[in-house]
Amino acid sequence: MKENEIARIIDHCLNEITSGSATEKDCLLRYPALEEDLRMAFSIQRQFKSIESIGLNEQSRVAVKKTILFNLPHRETPVTKRVDIRYRWQNTKWRFAMTWVIIVITVLSLLGGTGAVIASGDALPGEFLYPVKTWTEDIQLLLAPDNVDVELAGIFSSRRMEELIALLQSGEEIALDDLLGEYRNRTELMTQAFEKVRAQDPEEAIRLQIELESRLREQARIMEDLMAGDEDSLDLPLRTRVRTMLETNTQTRLRIAQVVAPVENPVDDPVEEPSTEVSDDPEDKNKNQNQYENQNRNRVEYASDEFVENGVLYFQFRFAESLANGVYAEVDGLKYACSVRGDLATCNLSGSKGNGTLKLFDQKTNELLYSFDYQHDYEYLWSGVKEGGEEKQQQGSSDSGAGSHDNGRTGGSK
């Protein structure tokens, strides 16, 4: 075979794997004569894939962003009237805010010196200067317009993550309750401000939504990393608190991702999961399972595309009926946001494990809609058993063509 042709085939396979339209195994079966070349190409692709997590840390990212935005050169570009008005308004607000900042700094200088404000930047919950830190944040939130509030509250919630790590490292874990309260407060303010922006300026809301989702996903990843450790690294009481913070994070993501109202008090009022109750009686278990399957058989048309984008796993389900209430997913007790468009639900399973049971719930009623077991190789595609039961398996694979398959682990994936 000519070199050109081999290069084309290898490239085609790499593209298919990246897009999720084929697995390594598919390609190897299709081109057995090129097995060696393909395996090498897959291996190198995986190696590059493994470095996708490299990026700026949050602190640097924010610092660089500030540097860039504050130093953007003036550009001679016609600005639309709407934007012009908004900037004039922002400038007015900014002048107003600066007046207050000067007043606040003056007062603080009189009381304890500006050093107190600066020093409070590194303060942790439980420390003397921590209230100054949160108070300074409150002032900024009070003075900023709603769209800036969203970003500020997002930044402050990320600060809580830094404080969480610092507290756990320093052993000052008793202050975690304070931190939990602050995190809830900031995420709540963020959501409220976001909902105001969404009502006033949907386009602006779309832009903010991307930023918030990214920020919240990163926070969730940090907490999940903390919880992934053994009990020596995080004992049960601490784990419970981190889990509660993670719940808050998930609820915030749900509220931001959905147009519908938030799930009410998910921590104190756990979602009922009738079909997953463990029963010692096999008859009860079968009854529950049958009841559940009968109830949902006609609802999910198919469990369709799963795709990985920027290391985040997404599920898509098409339902037979409208999903006006919205849905959310749950894996191993953790909730994940899903966006709904018509009868298609897309769930962002950032940070979920490679295997488990995924359940879909109605956003408003908390009714269990669908459930199945899955295994996933995060590097690439689905593998192993995807669906929970035979009937669901049929539903899932017949329509989507994405039932059980091996992703070519023999080719050397992790």
Partner: protein, 189 residues
Amino acid sequence: MPDTEHLSMEARIVNQAIQGDQQAFGQLYEMYADRIYRYLFFRTSSEMIAEDLMCDVFFKAWMALPDFVMEKESVNFKAWLYRIAHNTLIDYRRTRKTEISIEQLGDAKSGGEKLEKTVEDRQELSLLFENLNTLDELSRQVLVNRFVAGLSHREVASLLGLQENNIRVIQYRAIKKMRELSGDGYEGK
């Protein structure tokens, strides 16, 4: 998020940035900062230099945005931004030649924490750098543009001024060369 939805959302943000909306530009920064940083990191092997150059890239992008015209598929914002990054690197190297070195990788500072945390096997990354460093500049550029930047062959061909077929063959030969260098070490990883 489906590609089409993502692209239409991105197009709206780009249009707002073209109109001078700095917040929209901040949004574009959030969307691309990591990717551009990673690309620059792989081309310079220095996290500090990558961070500095990233600022330049976004400044240049801001100034050039009014000239950016979104065409159907031939030019998208991602490819356009990577072209700026590519040109910024060329400018940088005109004044200071930088080669990839493992020593520099070891000295990486600003993002080192993140790097250690997110890449399970740092040695594997070092090996990747080492093997990349043995390739000629063109092959290295093709691999980094394809696998790190995630550009299509058409985009890489346009960036480097070559034919698509050439890019495929260069990629294939580069992969073969890396295999030869690493022997059996790559298999099964």
